[in-house]
Protein backbone atom coordinates (compact mmCIF):
# COMPACT_ATOMS: atom_id res chain seq x y z
CA UNK A 1 0.00 0.00 0.00
CA UNK A 2 1.24 3.47 -0.90
CA UNK A 3 1.39 6.46 1.42
CA UNK A 4 -1.65 8.78 1.20
CA UNK A 5 0.63 11.74 0.55
CA UNK A 6 3.41 10.34 -1.70
CA UNK A 7 4.47 7.27 -3.62
CA UNK A 8 6.56 5.70 -0.87
CA UNK A 9 5.25 2.55 0.78
CA UNK A 10 2.97 3.21 3.77
CA UNK A 11 4.39 1.86 7.00
CA UNK A 12 2.05 3.57 9.49
CA UNK A 13 -1.63 2.73 9.43
CA UNK A 14 -3.94 4.74 11.62
CA UNK A 15 -7.66 4.70 12.23
CA UNK A 16 -9.08 7.79 13.84
CA UNK A 17 -12.64 8.43 14.88
CA UNK A 18 -13.39 12.11 14.49
CA UNK A 19 -16.93 13.27 15.28
CA UNK A 20 -18.18 9.73 14.88
CA UNK A 21 -16.59 9.34 11.45
CA UNK A 22 -13.95 6.74 10.89
CA UNK A 23 -10.95 8.06 9.05
CA UNK A 24 -8.20 5.72 7.90
CA UNK A 25 -4.73 7.03 7.29
CA UNK A 26 -1.85 5.21 5.60
CA UNK A 27 1.40 7.05 5.73
CA UNK A 28 5.07 6.57 5.03
CA UNK A 29 7.53 7.15 7.83
CA UNK A 30 8.31 10.68 6.68
CA UNK A 31 4.70 11.83 6.45
CA UNK A 32 3.70 10.00 9.62
CA UNK A 33 6.30 12.06 11.42
CA UNK A 34 5.04 15.23 9.79
CA UNK A 35 1.52 14.40 10.94
CA UNK A 36 2.84 13.93 14.40
CA UNK A 37 1.88 10.27 14.46
CA UNK A 38 5.38 9.02 15.09
CA UNK A 39 8.30 10.67 16.72
CA UNK A 40 11.80 10.10 15.53
CA UNK A 41 13.71 8.69 18.42
CA UNK A 42 16.95 6.84 17.98
CA UNK A 43 17.71 3.77 20.06
CA UNK A 44 14.84 4.22 22.47
CA UNK A 45 13.30 1.32 24.26
CA UNK A 46 9.96 0.26 22.86
CA UNK A 47 7.91 1.31 25.86
CA UNK A 48 9.27 4.84 25.64
CA UNK A 49 8.38 4.93 21.96
CA UNK A 50 4.89 3.76 22.78
CA UNK A 51 4.51 6.30 25.54
CA UNK A 52 5.52 9.10 23.21
CA UNK A 53 3.14 7.84 20.59
CA UNK A 54 0.28 7.83 23.08
CA UNK A 55 1.25 11.24 24.39
CA UNK A 56 1.51 12.79 20.98
CA UNK A 57 -1.82 11.37 20.12
CA UNK A 58 -3.51 12.55 23.30
CA UNK A 59 -2.16 16.05 22.91
CA UNK A 60 -3.92 16.44 19.57
CA UNK A 61 -7.21 15.65 21.26
CA UNK A 62 -6.98 17.47 24.54
CA UNK A 63 -4.69 20.36 23.77
CA UNK A 64 -5.61 23.42 25.81
CA UNK A 65 -6.77 26.09 23.41
CA UNK A 66 -6.05 29.04 25.54
CA UNK A 67 -2.40 28.55 26.27
CA UNK A 68 -0.71 30.81 23.78
CA UNK A 69 2.04 29.39 21.62
CA UNK A 70 2.91 25.87 20.75
CA UNK A 71 1.51 22.86 22.52
CA UNK A 72 4.16 21.55 24.82
CA UNK A 73 5.22 17.97 24.78
CA UNK A 74 5.85 15.90 27.81
CA UNK A 75 8.90 13.74 27.96
CA UNK A 76 9.29 10.70 30.11
CA UNK A 77 12.09 10.99 32.61
CA UNK A 78 13.67 8.12 34.41
CA UNK A 79 13.99 8.48 38.15
CA UNK A 80 15.37 5.66 40.20
CA UNK A 81 14.58 3.06 37.57
CA UNK A 82 10.91 4.05 37.32
CA UNK A 83 9.58 6.07 34.46
CA UNK A 84 7.85 9.26 35.45
CA UNK A 85 6.23 11.87 33.27
CA UNK A 86 7.25 15.47 33.42
CA UNK A 87 5.38 18.47 32.10
CA UNK A 88 7.93 20.32 30.02
CA UNK A 89 6.03 23.55 30.40
CA UNK A 90 6.17 23.87 34.19
CA UNK A 91 8.48 21.03 35.25
CA UNK A 92 5.98 19.21 37.45
CA UNK A 93 6.37 15.44 37.47
CA UNK A 94 3.46 13.07 37.58
CA UNK A 95 4.60 11.60 40.89
CA UNK A 96 4.67 15.11 42.42
CA UNK A 97 1.12 15.58 41.20
CA UNK A 98 0.10 12.33 42.84
CA UNK A 99 1.51 13.52 46.13
CA UNK A 100 -0.17 16.95 46.17
CA UNK A 101 -3.21 16.40 43.94
CA UNK A 102 -2.48 19.74 42.29
CA UNK A 103 -1.30 20.38 38.77
CA UNK A 104 1.37 22.92 37.88
CA UNK A 105 -0.15 24.46 34.77
CA UNK A 106 -2.82 24.05 32.11
CA UNK A 107 -0.41 22.02 29.97
CA UNK A 108 -0.13 19.34 32.67
CA UNK A 109 -3.53 18.06 31.54
CA UNK A 110 -2.01 17.25 28.16
CA UNK A 111 1.38 16.19 29.42
CA UNK A 112 0.00 13.71 31.94
CA UNK A 113 -2.90 12.77 29.71
CA UNK A 114 -2.70 8.98 29.58
CA UNK A 115 -2.02 8.64 33.31
CA UNK A 116 -4.21 11.48 34.47
CA UNK A 117 -7.36 10.72 32.49
CA UNK A 118 -8.23 7.47 34.27
CA UNK A 119 -7.84 9.22 37.66
CA UNK A 120 -9.86 12.15 36.48
CA UNK A 121 -12.58 9.91 35.17
CA UNK A 122 -12.80 8.16 38.50
CA UNK A 123 -12.97 11.45 40.42
CA UNK A 124 -15.64 12.76 38.08
CA UNK A 125 -17.75 9.61 38.17
CA UNK A 126 -17.00 8.48 34.66
CA UNK A 127 -17.32 11.83 32.89
CA UNK A 128 -14.71 12.53 30.24
CA UNK A 129 -16.02 15.59 28.39
CA UNK A 130 -17.04 19.06 29.40
CA UNK A 131 -20.63 20.11 29.14
CA UNK A 132 -21.67 23.60 30.09
CA UNK A 133 -20.35 27.09 29.76
CA UNK A 134 -17.84 27.84 27.04
CA UNK A 135 -15.94 31.13 27.10
CA UNK A 136 -17.27 33.55 24.54
CA UNK A 137 -13.94 34.00 22.83
CA UNK A 138 -13.92 30.31 21.96
CA UNK A 139 -16.34 31.14 19.14
CA UNK A 140 -20.07 31.09 18.81
CA UNK A 141 -20.22 27.86 16.83
CA UNK A 142 -18.61 26.02 19.68
CA UNK A 143 -21.05 27.57 22.11
CA UNK A 144 -23.92 26.38 19.96
CA UNK A 145 -22.53 22.85 19.68
CA UNK A 146 -22.04 22.65 23.39
CA UNK A 147 -25.55 23.87 24.07
CA UNK A 148 -26.96 21.37 21.57
CA UNK A 149 -25.14 18.48 23.20
CA UNK A 150 -26.49 19.53 26.54
CA UNK A 151 -30.04 20.00 25.35
CA UNK A 152 -30.05 16.57 23.71
CA UNK A 153 -28.88 15.00 26.92
CA UNK A 154 -31.55 16.72 28.94
CA UNK A 155 -34.11 15.76 26.32
CA UNK A 156 -33.14 12.10 26.69
CA UNK A 157 -33.44 12.42 30.44
CA UNK A 158 -36.84 14.06 30.20
CA UNK A 159 -38.15 11.35 27.88
CA UNK A 160 -36.74 8.62 30.12
CA UNK A 161 -38.38 10.29 33.12
CA UNK A 162 -41.67 10.63 31.21
CA UNK A 163 -41.60 14.40 31.60
CA UNK A 164 -43.27 14.97 28.28
CA UNK A 165 -44.04 18.66 28.62
CA UNK A 166 -40.43 19.38 29.44
CA UNK A 167 -39.30 17.09 26.62
CA UNK A 168 -41.46 18.99 24.13
CA UNK A 169 -40.00 22.29 25.29
CA UNK A 170 -36.47 20.93 25.01
CA UNK A 171 -37.14 19.51 21.54
CA UNK A 172 -38.32 22.93 20.37
CA UNK A 173 -35.16 24.46 21.75
CA UNK A 174 -33.01 21.90 19.94
CA UNK A 175 -34.81 22.61 16.65
CA UNK A 176 -34.50 26.32 17.15
CA UNK A 177 -30.78 26.03 17.80
CA UNK A 178 -30.20 23.66 14.89
CA UNK A 179 -31.87 26.04 12.48
CA UNK A 180 -29.26 28.70 13.27
CA UNK A 181 -26.42 26.97 11.47
Amino acid sequence: MKCDRCDNPATVHLIEIINGQKIEKHLCEHHAMEEGVTIKVTHSPINELLEKFVLKHTSSVAAPTSVGGAVQQAGPVTTGGETDLVCEHCGLTFSEFRKRALLGCADCYTAFGPLLMPLLERAQEGATHHLGKVPRYAGSDQLRQQRLKQLRRELDKAVAGEQYERAARLRDEVRELESHK
Binding site: P64, L102, G132, E154
Partner: protein, 349 residues
Protein backbone atom coordinates in the same frame (compact mmCIF):
# COMPACT_ATOMS: atom_id res chain seq x y z
CA UNK B 1 -15.30 49.94 55.95
CA UNK B 2 -18.07 47.54 56.74
CA UNK B 3 -19.31 47.44 60.36
CA UNK B 4 -18.24 43.85 60.83
CA UNK B 5 -18.43 43.83 64.58
CA UNK B 6 -22.08 44.87 64.62
CA UNK B 7 -23.75 42.32 62.40
CA UNK B 8 -23.14 39.00 60.73
CA UNK B 9 -22.82 38.88 56.93
CA UNK B 10 -26.11 39.52 55.14
CA UNK B 11 -26.17 35.91 53.94
CA UNK B 12 -26.74 34.88 57.55
CA UNK B 13 -29.75 37.19 57.92
CA UNK B 14 -32.27 34.41 57.61
CA UNK B 15 -34.14 36.05 54.74
CA UNK B 16 -35.40 34.60 51.50
CA UNK B 17 -37.30 31.45 50.58
CA UNK B 18 -37.28 28.54 53.06
CA UNK B 19 -35.00 30.51 55.35
CA UNK B 20 -36.13 28.63 58.46
CA UNK B 21 -34.13 25.68 57.08
CA UNK B 22 -32.03 27.01 54.21
CA UNK B 23 -29.48 29.44 55.59
CA UNK B 24 -27.64 30.36 52.43
CA UNK B 25 -27.15 29.60 48.75
CA UNK B 26 -23.64 29.83 47.38
CA UNK B 27 -22.14 29.45 43.92
CA UNK B 28 -18.39 29.43 43.41
CA UNK B 29 -16.55 29.42 40.09
CA UNK B 30 -12.91 28.39 39.71
CA UNK B 31 -10.96 30.08 36.90
CA UNK B 32 -7.32 30.37 35.89
CA UNK B 33 -5.68 33.00 33.75
CA UNK B 34 -4.34 31.49 30.52
CA UNK B 35 -0.60 31.72 30.02
CA UNK B 36 0.26 31.68 33.73
CA UNK B 37 1.26 28.54 35.62
CA UNK B 38 -1.13 27.38 38.33
CA UNK B 39 -0.19 28.52 41.83
CA UNK B 40 1.82 25.43 42.73
CA UNK B 41 4.37 26.52 40.13
CA UNK B 42 3.92 30.29 40.30
CA UNK B 43 6.80 32.31 41.75
CA UNK B 44 6.44 35.49 43.80
CA UNK B 45 6.68 37.72 40.71
CA UNK B 46 3.95 35.78 38.92
CA UNK B 47 1.74 35.80 41.99
CA UNK B 48 2.16 39.55 42.22
CA UNK B 49 1.36 39.98 38.54
CA UNK B 50 -1.73 37.78 38.88
CA UNK B 51 -2.92 39.87 41.80
CA UNK B 52 -2.40 43.06 39.81
CA UNK B 53 -4.24 41.73 36.77
CA UNK B 54 -7.12 40.27 38.73
CA UNK B 55 -7.50 43.29 40.96
CA UNK B 56 -7.74 45.65 37.98
CA UNK B 57 -10.08 43.43 35.99
CA UNK B 58 -12.29 42.62 38.94
CA UNK B 59 -12.79 46.26 39.76
CA UNK B 60 -13.71 46.84 36.08
CA UNK B 61 -16.10 43.89 36.10
CA UNK B 62 -17.77 44.80 39.39
CA UNK B 63 -21.06 45.53 37.58
CA UNK B 64 -22.12 48.49 39.63
CA UNK B 65 -21.16 46.98 42.97
CA UNK B 66 -18.57 48.53 45.20
CA UNK B 67 -15.74 46.06 45.52
CA UNK B 68 -13.07 46.47 48.15
CA UNK B 69 -9.67 44.94 47.46
CA UNK B 70 -7.58 43.49 50.27
CA UNK B 71 -3.98 42.28 50.12
CA UNK B 72 -4.05 39.38 52.53
CA UNK B 73 -0.28 39.04 52.86
CA UNK B 74 -0.16 42.46 54.55
CA UNK B 75 -3.13 41.82 56.78
CA UNK B 76 -2.83 40.86 60.48
CA UNK B 77 -3.72 37.22 61.18
CA UNK B 78 -6.69 38.17 63.35
CA UNK B 79 -8.25 40.20 60.54
CA UNK B 80 -7.78 37.33 58.11
CA UNK B 81 -9.42 35.01 60.61
CA UNK B 82 -12.38 37.37 60.71
CA UNK B 83 -12.78 36.92 56.95
CA UNK B 84 -12.76 33.15 57.45
CA UNK B 85 -15.45 33.42 60.13
CA UNK B 86 -17.56 35.47 57.73
CA UNK B 87 -17.09 32.81 55.04
CA UNK B 88 -15.52 35.32 52.68
CA UNK B 89 -12.32 33.32 52.35
CA UNK B 90 -11.39 29.68 52.91
CA UNK B 91 -9.32 28.60 55.89
CA UNK B 92 -6.49 27.85 53.49
CA UNK B 93 -6.63 31.39 52.06
CA UNK B 94 -6.51 32.79 55.58
CA UNK B 95 -3.17 31.14 56.33
CA UNK B 96 0.40 31.77 55.24
CA UNK B 97 2.26 34.78 53.89
CA UNK B 98 2.11 34.22 50.13
CA UNK B 99 0.92 37.05 47.89
CA UNK B 100 -2.83 36.77 47.53
CA UNK B 101 -5.94 38.88 47.68
CA UNK B 102 -9.64 39.23 48.15
CA UNK B 103 -12.15 41.42 46.39
CA UNK B 104 -15.35 41.72 48.38
CA UNK B 105 -18.54 43.66 47.72
CA UNK B 106 -19.91 45.98 50.40
CA UNK B 107 -22.88 43.67 51.02
CA UNK B 108 -20.49 40.67 51.15
CA UNK B 109 -22.57 38.80 48.56
CA UNK B 110 -19.61 38.74 46.17
CA UNK B 111 -16.20 37.58 47.34
CA UNK B 112 -13.41 36.78 44.93
CA UNK B 113 -10.31 35.03 46.23
CA UNK B 114 -7.25 35.64 44.10
CA UNK B 115 -4.33 33.18 44.27
CA UNK B 116 -6.05 30.59 46.42
CA UNK B 117 -5.89 27.09 44.89
CA UNK B 118 -6.84 28.61 41.53
CA UNK B 119 -6.03 32.10 40.28
CA UNK B 120 -9.66 33.13 40.71
CA UNK B 121 -12.35 31.74 42.98
CA UNK B 122 -15.46 33.81 42.47
CA UNK B 123 -18.16 33.34 45.09
CA UNK B 124 -21.68 34.69 45.27
CA UNK B 125 -23.63 33.96 48.44
CA UNK B 126 -27.21 34.91 49.30
CA UNK B 127 -29.44 34.33 52.28
CA UNK B 128 -32.12 31.63 51.92
CA UNK B 129 -32.81 29.42 48.93
CA UNK B 130 -31.71 31.69 46.09
CA UNK B 131 -29.41 29.50 44.05
CA UNK B 132 -30.70 30.67 40.68
CA UNK B 133 -30.04 34.30 41.63
CA UNK B 134 -26.62 33.43 42.99
CA UNK B 135 -25.67 31.64 39.77
CA UNK B 136 -27.02 34.47 37.64
CA UNK B 137 -24.87 36.97 39.50
CA UNK B 138 -21.75 34.78 39.43
CA UNK B 139 -22.20 34.03 35.75
CA UNK B 140 -22.70 37.69 34.84
CA UNK B 141 -19.52 38.60 36.64
CA UNK B 142 -17.68 35.71 34.98
CA UNK B 143 -18.92 36.98 31.59
CA UNK B 144 -17.66 40.44 32.39
CA UNK B 145 -14.26 39.08 33.43
CA UNK B 146 -14.05 36.88 30.38
CA UNK B 147 -14.19 39.92 28.13
CA UNK B 148 -10.91 41.05 29.62
CA UNK B 149 -9.10 37.88 30.68
CA UNK B 150 -8.50 34.70 28.70
CA UNK B 151 -9.18 31.79 30.99
CA UNK B 152 -7.41 28.44 30.68
CA UNK B 153 -9.93 26.31 28.83
CA UNK B 154 -9.87 23.16 26.73
CA UNK B 155 -12.59 21.96 24.36
CA UNK B 156 -12.57 18.56 25.92
CA UNK B 157 -12.11 19.33 29.61
CA UNK B 158 -13.65 22.79 29.93
CA UNK B 159 -12.20 25.25 32.44
CA UNK B 160 -8.83 23.94 33.55
CA UNK B 161 -8.24 24.03 37.28
CA UNK B 162 -5.30 23.25 39.55
CA UNK B 163 -7.09 20.26 41.04
CA UNK B 164 -8.74 17.92 38.52
CA UNK B 165 -11.75 17.58 40.84
CA UNK B 166 -12.84 21.08 39.77
CA UNK B 167 -12.18 20.77 36.03
CA UNK B 168 -15.03 21.31 33.57
CA UNK B 169 -17.53 23.88 34.78
CA UNK B 170 -15.35 24.76 37.77
CA UNK B 171 -18.58 25.26 39.67
CA UNK B 172 -19.20 24.40 43.28
CA UNK B 173 -22.76 24.89 44.41
CA UNK B 174 -23.31 24.81 48.18
CA UNK B 175 -26.50 25.13 50.14
CA UNK B 176 -26.11 25.62 53.88
CA UNK B 177 -28.95 24.20 55.91
CA UNK B 178 -29.88 24.31 59.56
CA UNK B 179 -31.03 20.82 60.54
CA UNK B 180 -31.42 20.70 64.33
CA UNK B 181 -34.57 18.55 64.34
CA UNK B 182 -32.98 15.87 62.16
CA UNK B 183 -30.04 15.89 64.53
CA UNK B 184 -32.32 15.57 67.59
CA UNK B 185 -34.33 12.73 66.07
CA UNK B 186 -31.13 10.97 65.03
CA UNK B 187 -32.09 11.06 61.36
CA UNK B 188 -29.20 13.08 59.98
CA UNK B 189 -28.07 9.91 58.22
CA UNK B 190 -31.08 10.41 55.90
CA UNK B 191 -29.42 13.55 54.59
CA UNK B 192 -26.10 11.82 54.06
CA UNK B 193 -27.83 9.03 52.16
CA UNK B 194 -29.88 11.37 49.97
CA UNK B 195 -26.77 13.37 49.19
CA UNK B 196 -24.78 10.27 48.31
CA UNK B 197 -27.49 9.11 45.94
CA UNK B 198 -27.34 12.44 44.16
CA UNK B 199 -23.52 12.44 44.07
CA UNK B 200 -23.34 15.33 46.47
CA UNK B 201 -21.18 15.85 49.53
CA UNK B 202 -22.28 16.92 52.98
CA UNK B 203 -19.85 19.17 54.79
CA UNK B 204 -19.66 21.18 57.98
CA UNK B 205 -20.06 24.85 58.78
CA UNK B 206 -16.73 25.97 57.34
CA UNK B 207 -16.70 23.67 54.32
CA UNK B 208 -14.47 20.76 53.49
CA UNK B 209 -13.18 18.78 56.45
CA UNK B 210 -15.05 20.77 59.10
CA UNK B 211 -17.59 19.83 61.74
CA UNK B 212 -21.29 20.46 61.44
CA UNK B 213 -21.15 23.10 64.17
CA UNK B 214 -24.50 24.43 65.35
CA UNK B 215 -26.29 21.78 63.27
CA UNK B 216 -25.33 23.62 60.08
CA UNK B 217 -24.72 21.36 57.13
CA UNK B 218 -23.49 22.30 53.68
CA UNK B 219 -24.52 20.19 50.72
CA UNK B 220 -22.43 20.62 47.59
CA UNK B 221 -21.94 19.00 44.21
CA UNK B 222 -19.07 16.57 43.99
CA UNK B 223 -18.41 16.47 40.28
CA UNK B 224 -17.81 19.31 37.86
CA UNK B 225 -17.24 17.50 34.57
CA UNK B 226 -19.80 16.13 32.13
CA UNK B 227 -22.76 18.05 33.52
CA UNK B 228 -23.74 21.60 32.68
CA UNK B 229 -24.22 24.33 35.27
CA UNK B 230 -27.99 24.33 34.84
CA UNK B 231 -28.20 20.59 35.27
CA UNK B 232 -26.22 20.80 38.50
CA UNK B 233 -28.37 23.67 39.79
CA UNK B 234 -31.57 21.86 38.86
CA UNK B 235 -30.56 18.85 40.95
CA UNK B 236 -30.35 21.14 43.97
CA UNK B 237 -33.45 23.19 43.23
CA UNK B 238 -35.83 20.45 42.18
CA UNK B 239 -34.65 17.51 44.22
CA UNK B 240 -32.01 17.78 46.88
CA UNK B 241 -32.98 20.93 48.75
CA UNK B 242 -36.78 20.42 48.75
CA UNK B 243 -36.20 16.87 49.95
CA UNK B 244 -33.97 17.86 52.87
CA UNK B 245 -36.26 20.79 53.77
CA UNK B 246 -39.15 18.34 53.87
CA UNK B 247 -37.19 15.89 56.05
CA UNK B 248 -36.34 18.65 58.50
CA UNK B 249 -39.90 19.98 58.59
CA UNK B 250 -41.25 16.48 59.15
CA UNK B 251 -38.77 15.95 61.95
CA UNK B 252 -39.82 19.29 63.52
CA UNK B 253 -43.49 18.35 63.27
CA UNK B 254 -42.81 14.88 64.70
CA UNK B 255 -40.93 16.37 67.66
CA UNK B 256 -43.72 18.84 68.37
CA UNK B 257 -46.34 16.15 68.20
CA UNK B 258 -44.66 13.21 69.89
CA UNK B 259 -41.92 14.67 72.07
CA UNK B 260 -43.06 18.22 72.92
CA UNK B 261 -41.48 18.19 76.36
CA UNK B 262 -38.14 17.04 75.03
CA UNK B 263 -38.27 19.71 72.33
CA UNK B 264 -39.24 22.50 74.72
CA UNK B 265 -36.69 21.34 77.26
CA UNK B 266 -33.91 21.71 74.70
CA UNK B 267 -35.15 25.13 73.63
CA UNK B 268 -35.69 26.50 77.14
CA UNK B 269 -32.45 25.01 78.40
CA UNK B 270 -30.58 26.74 75.57
CA UNK B 271 -32.30 30.02 76.36
CA UNK B 272 -31.59 29.66 80.08
CA UNK B 273 -27.89 28.93 79.61
CA UNK B 274 -27.37 31.60 76.97
CA UNK B 275 -28.99 34.26 79.14
CA UNK B 276 -27.35 33.25 82.43
CA UNK B 277 -24.01 31.58 81.83
CA UNK B 278 -20.86 33.45 82.88
CA UNK B 279 -18.47 31.46 80.67
CA UNK B 280 -19.27 30.17 77.19
CA UNK B 281 -17.09 28.19 74.80
CA UNK B 282 -17.54 28.78 71.08
CA UNK B 283 -18.78 25.30 70.16
CA UNK B 284 -21.14 25.18 73.11
CA UNK B 285 -22.52 28.55 72.09
CA UNK B 286 -23.25 27.37 68.56
CA UNK B 287 -24.95 24.26 69.94
CA UNK B 288 -27.19 26.34 72.20
CA UNK B 289 -27.91 28.96 69.54
CA UNK B 290 -28.97 26.14 67.24
CA UNK B 291 -31.66 24.99 69.68
CA UNK B 292 -32.76 28.56 70.34
CA UNK B 293 -33.06 29.18 66.61
CA UNK B 294 -35.14 26.02 66.27
CA UNK B 295 -37.48 27.26 69.02
CA UNK B 296 -37.86 30.66 67.35
CA UNK B 297 -38.50 29.17 63.90
CA UNK B 298 -41.14 26.88 65.39
CA UNK B 299 -42.75 29.68 67.40
CA UNK B 300 -42.20 27.80 70.68
CA UNK B 301 -40.38 30.59 72.47
CA UNK B 302 -40.87 34.31 72.85
CA UNK B 303 -37.49 35.85 72.96
CA UNK B 304 -35.13 37.83 70.82
CA UNK B 305 -35.78 38.17 67.12
CA UNK B 306 -34.39 35.62 64.72
CA UNK B 307 -32.06 38.20 63.19
CA UNK B 308 -30.39 38.73 66.55
CA UNK B 309 -29.79 34.99 66.99
CA UNK B 310 -28.55 34.62 63.42
CA UNK B 311 -26.06 37.41 64.06
CA UNK B 312 -24.74 35.64 67.14
CA UNK B 313 -23.75 32.57 65.14
CA UNK B 314 -21.06 34.70 63.51
CA UNK B 315 -20.35 37.31 66.15
CA UNK B 316 -19.44 34.77 68.85
CA UNK B 317 -16.57 33.43 66.72
CA UNK B 318 -13.13 34.06 68.29
CA UNK B 319 -12.02 36.74 65.81
CA UNK B 320 -15.31 38.58 65.90
CA UNK B 321 -15.21 38.71 69.69
CA UNK B 322 -11.69 40.09 69.66
CA UNK B 323 -12.70 42.67 67.07
CA UNK B 324 -15.63 43.67 69.28
CA UNK B 325 -13.43 43.79 72.39
CA UNK B 326 -10.87 45.79 70.44
CA UNK B 327 -7.99 43.71 71.74
CA UNK B 328 -6.45 40.25 71.72
CA UNK B 329 -8.17 37.93 74.21
CA UNK B 330 -6.83 34.69 75.64
CA UNK B 331 -9.01 31.58 75.52
CA UNK B 332 -10.42 32.02 79.01
CA UNK B 333 -10.91 35.76 78.55
CA UNK B 334 -12.84 34.96 75.40
CA UNK B 335 -15.18 32.57 77.19
CA UNK B 336 -16.03 35.23 79.74
CA UNK B 337 -16.36 37.99 77.14
CA UNK B 338 -18.53 35.75 74.96
CA UNK B 339 -20.95 35.00 77.80
CA UNK B 340 -21.27 38.68 78.69
CA UNK B 341 -21.74 39.66 75.05
CA UNK B 342 -24.40 37.01 74.44
CA UNK B 343 -26.30 38.01 77.60
CA UNK B 344 -26.25 41.64 76.54
CA UNK B 345 -27.39 40.94 73.00
CA UNK B 346 -30.18 38.61 74.08
CA UNK B 347 -31.51 41.04 76.66
CA UNK B 348 -32.01 43.67 73.92
CA UNK B 349 -35.50 43.22 72.66
Amino acid sequence: MIQWSEHASPWLRGEGPDSDVVISSRVRLARNVAGFPFLLKAGAAQRRELCQICRAKLLDASMGRTLVWMDLADMPALERQLLVERHLISRQHGQGDKIRGLAVSDDESVAVMVNEEDHIRLQVIYSGMRLADAYRAANAMDDALEKQIDFAFSDKLGYLTACPTNVGTGIRVSVMMHLPALKLTGEIEKVQRAARDMHMAVRGFYGEGTEALGDFYQVSNQTTLGRGEQEILTDFQDQMVPQIVRYEQEARAALAERRPSLLDDRIQRAWAVLTHARLLGSEETLYLLSHLRLGLCMGRIEGPDLQQVNDLFALTGPSHLQRIAGRVLTGSERREFRATFVRQRLSER
